[in-house]
């Protein structure tokens, strides 16, 4: 177990090196840099741009020089200052990670909380109206673009007045709320974005759950269980579900990591102050230190997410041993 953990964490190092190097290469190769956007300002001078580029160490076009400079700082724990915010990159990421976790957990509860029961029922009631409806719902969830779905929800919020139009808190009164009101206020803001992300995830996992469950239900040991005269409830939840859910646990690890990084569009439309938005905005601005640190963070999350899934799987399935 210990060696397994150690091995997995050690494997993270070459992965991080490769990912950051590729990111740096792309940052150098893509045209323009952080200061290009000053170009439509008529009063900027060429000398000033040159000075800025030298000051921020982005004047070299050589990938190895640029990467070497970054790596030298990174191994000493210095990931640099964001160009835009002039603040240490980790402090910026720390600010956002909590908000991203809130959204991710909300979305996970919705997607898994709906996907598993709906998937199980669809499998049990295969080819009934319920199954068709659930199937239809999941196809809608799979095919609806998240940007459209998000905008639709924001529009719904504005028209109905039931929910706030974006944001994570009531920005005007937040500091005057009691702790309980703060919790409720955050949850109230969370409902719509979590629904968007949750629905999209739900659609996928429900199909997966249904497939696994149908396959499990056709196994011999299920027939045996039924022949023994066990109640249908015990057959489903005691014998079938535990076996059918295994592959989904691996998915769970990745879905968590995906939510941390891939919720950008929803975060953007709902003005949710999360990691995805920070990373993508940094990328658009070419705020290099921030991009690099975010990439490191997201890669580590992905690895840790899949590691957690493996551990959970080992815990749930006695056949699996981690060596």
């Amino acid at each position: 177990m210990k060696t397994f953990l150690l091995r997995r964490l050690l494997a993270l190092l070459p992965l991080l090196l490769a990912v950051t190097f590729i990111t740096q290469t792309l940052l150098v190769l893509a045209p323009g840099d952080y200061f290009s956007k000053l170009a439509e300002n008529p009063s900027i001078t060429a000398a000033r741009l040159e000075m800025l580029r030298a000051q921020y160490h982005i004047d070299s076009e050589n990938v190895f020089v640029r990467y070497g400079y970054w790596l030298k700082g990174a191994v000493q724990g210095d990931f640099g200052y964001s160009f835009k915010f002039q603040a240490p990159v980790w402090s910026l990421i720390a600010d956002r990670i909590v908000n991203t976790l809130i959204l991710a957990i909300g979305a996970l509860i919705i997607s898994w909380g709906l996907a598993i029961p709906l998937g199980v029922i669809s499998a049990v009631k295969k080819d009934t109206v319920f199954d068709r409806l659930a199937g239809g719902l999941s196809f809608v969830g799979l095919s609806i673009p998240s940007v459209f779905f998000s905008l639709l929800m924001v529009f719904f919020a504005q028209k109905s007045g039931l929910f706030p139009v974006g944001g994570i808190h009531n920005q005007v009164y937040w500091q005057y709320f009691t702790p309980w009101q703060k919790v409720v206020d955050t949850l109230w803001h969370l409902v719509l974005p979590a629904t968007v992300l949750g629905t999209i995830g739900m659609a996928q996992y429900m199909r997966q759950m249904r497939g696994e469950m149908i396959e499990t239900l056709s196994q011999d040991y299920i027939r045996t269980a039924r022949a023994k005269g066990l109640s249908e409830r015990k057959v489903l939840f005691g014998h079938a579900l535990g076996n059918a859910i295994n592959p989904l646990i691996t998915l769970f690890g990745f879905s968590f990591a995906y939510l941390l990084s891939g919720a950008f569009i929803t975060e953007y439309v709902f003005s949710w102050p999360g990691m995805g938005r920070l990373t993508v905005e940094a990328l658009l601005d070419k705020d290099e230190p921030l991009v690099m640190a975010s990439i490191v963070m997201l890669t580590a999350m992905l690895v840790v997410g899949s590691l957690l899934a493996d551990l959970l799987l080992a815990y749930l399935d006695p056949r699996i041993r981690l060596e």
Binding site: A39, P42, S43, Y81, F85, F163, Y173, V191, S271, E281
Partner: protein, 601 residues
């Protein structure tokens, strides 16, 4: 089970919605009492605003991204500027956005010596920083010393630079008098002085001496340390969420009743990245103002004006100008030795008659109609008609849509369709065909490219549109110089004095994109524009400068280094609850006079 879930979620939603009605806290509306109250006394000779209002309340707006810093000297990004430059910090002088004239500010008066070399500014008596410390000439000198420090990057510095790369000498003569000594007259002196935001010596001198001024007052600043001289001071900043400002109790303006400004107690600026969400936020009543509304959103917004009690304001043509440009750079790449542009095409592009023909071929009215819903005007100069001080209709050569004139001009330079394929050929038989580059992320520019393609087709010129990312366009313009033609835009300077656009006009300017960085002017008219603009740089007399700009406008529009296209109208929207609301197409559109705004309900 499904029904139970549905029921549960409905109940949760209703409970949440009910529990979250705003409770205690500062009031939204004006109550007639200033809270927080004013402290100390206003200056003995305060700035007097000609008008009145009532105290209290708060106003909420949104901006698209986080500020990068709260340091008004080193700030370069627009989000920081729109929060701190004006609402939080001010300068020695002010600008009236409506008359577009420079007014007094923290300095009550100024005078220049006859030779324009010595400028003296007199501060108001009894000015205070927001922490109650007296504001003196030493603070002004400090702010300028920091600005001129070669190690500190800032956008105000370059316009003060003199021919020998030195900066004016700044002296605090006494507590109330600041003197600038120049080596050569500077026509933009007042404008430049108005771009240096004043910072407190007693808070920042230590950081400057320690060499950490550039990172001082970053986004992690303790709001209590951020001592200001503008109408507001910072109370709270939460990344990606909000900036909260509160009245500076020592602000130096009063109204005509002798009441101190500002009227509004508190300003909340939310950070809303998505433009559509920001608009919906405004429609839902969560924010009070939209400082910009896209022309395509205007009809939808107007439809809700009455029901939601807000108003959309059409401020007429904005300051930003769209242009089309053909590459007139005859140079060669240093790396490959190849010419930047195909020599055949350069021969066309450098021919002024060809450019004039293109300008006649463009249907600008159609552009305004289809792209801006009719909210815009054709322009023929880099200066927009919105610019009251410097625009001069009479000096500008215009090119109203005229296909016959365009064809006649093309024929004059030997371009006509000899083989009957619909595309004209030049005198050597090359078909006239070139690429048009613009950034694909900008819908308006893409739409313009499509219209231009059709317009040029009508006179037999074949254009293929090439949409690439913004960064690639800039790289092509500034480094590679390898484009055939391009559609771009100029942002407005503020104040909109053309002297701030020298880099565009001068032939050695690096954003003189038609043919940048010239060692000696390539054409007589570029030489003449250089001469006029350089003379303006050294002239203080505004009447003389205006005459020269008229000639520049004429030369520019006659020779068309860039073919200017349209200026879109500028729209803003605000709830019907503001007094003294005087929106302007210059930054910061709806709240440039934030200190004078008050709430009527």
């Amino acid at each position: 089970m499904k029904r139970r879930f549905a029921l549960l979620s409905v109940i949760v939603c209703v409970v949440l919605a009910a529990a979250c009605k705003p409770t205690v806290g500062p009031t939204m509306t004006s109550g007639g009492v200033a809270n927080p109250p004013f402290l100390g006394q206003p200056p003995q000779d305060p700035y007097v605003f000609n008008g009145t209002g009532t105290y209290g309340g708060m106003f909420v707006m949104s901006i698209p991204s986080d500020p990068g810093t709260f340091n008004p000297i080193t700030s370069t990004d627009s989000s920081s500027n729109q929060i701190i430059q004006g609402p939080v910090f001010t300068t020695l002088l002010g600008l009236d956005n409506i008359t577009q004239e420079i007014s007094s500010g923290m300095a009550s008066s100024y005078e220049a010596s006859a030779d324009g070399l010595v400028w003296t500014f007199h501060l108001r008596k009894g000015l205070m920083w927001s922490d109650g410390t007296p504001f003196t000439a030493a603070d002004v000198k400090f702010s300028f010393d920091v600005t001129f420090d070669p190690k500190i990057d800032n956008s105000a510095k370059s316009s003060f630079e003199q021919s020998d790369h030195t900066y004016p000498l700044v002296e605090a003569v006494d507590d109330l008098t600041v003197r600038f000594t120049l080596k050569e007259p500077n026509g933009a002196m007042l404008i430049n002085v108005g771009t240096v935001y004043l910072v407190p010596k007693h808070k920042l001198e230590a950081a400057w001496k320690a060499g950490t001024f550039s990172s001082a007052w970053g986004i992690d600043v303790n709001p209590a340390e951020l001592v200001t001289c503008g109408p507001y001071r910072l109370i709270e900043y939460v990344a990606n969420q909000r900036v909260v400002l509160e009245r500076n109790p020592y602000y130096w303006k009063v109204d005509s009743n002798g009441q101190r400004l500002p009227y509004i107690d508190r300003v909340v600026i939310e950070i809303v990245a998505d433009m559509n969400t920001a608009l919906l936020n405004f429609k839902a009543g969560q924010t009070d103002m939209m400082y910009t509304v896209k022309p395509e959103d205007v009809p939808g917004l107007r439809a809700e004006e009455a029901a939601k009690d807000f108003k959309v304001y059409d401020l007429g043509p904005g300051f930003n100008v769209y242009y089309f440009m053909v590459n007139q750079n005859p140079g060669r790449s240093e790396k490959s030795g190849k010419p930047f542009v195909d020599p055949v095409k350069i021969a066309w592009f450098t021919d002024v008659k060809f450019r004039q023909a293109l300008s006649y071929a463009i249907d600008r009215e159609a552009m305004v109609k289809t792209i801006f819903n009719g909210f815009g005007v054709p322009v023929y100069s880099q200066i927009s008609p919105a610019n009251k001080e410097w625009y001069d209709e009479a000096s500008i050569v215009k090119y109203p849509h005229d296909i016959e004139k365009a064809k006649a001009l093309l024929k004059e330079i030997g371009m006509e369709d000899r083989d009957g394929d619909g595309v004209i050929e030049d005198s050597k038989g090359h078909p006239v065909s070139f690429k048009l580059t613009t950034n694909g992320d900008n819908n308006q520019r893409i739409a313009m490219a499509t219209l231009l393609k059709n317009d040029f087709k009508a006179v037999g010129i074949d254009v293929s549109v090439n949409a690439i990312p913004f960064q690639s366009v800039i790289k092509s313009l500034q480094e590679l110089h390898d484009f055939d033609s391009v559609i771009g835009g100029w942002q407005s300077g503020n104040p909109p004095d053309p002297i701030l656009s020298n880099n565009i006009y001068l032939s050695n300017g690096f954003v003189h994109y038609s043919n940048p960085n010239q060692k000696t002017p390539a054409t007589p008219w570029e030489a003449r524009i250089d001469e006029l603009m350089n003379a303006n740089q050294r002239t203080v007399d505004i009447a003389v400068r205006k005459e020269r700009i008229k000639e520049v406008l004429h030369l520019w529009s006659e020779n068309l280094p860039e073919i200017d296209l349209v200026a879109a109208n500028y729209f803003v929207a605000a709830k019907n609850r503001f007094g003294n609301f005087r929106p302007s197409a210059l930054p910061y559109y709806t709240y440039w006079n934030l200190d004078e705004l008050y709430l009527t309900k």
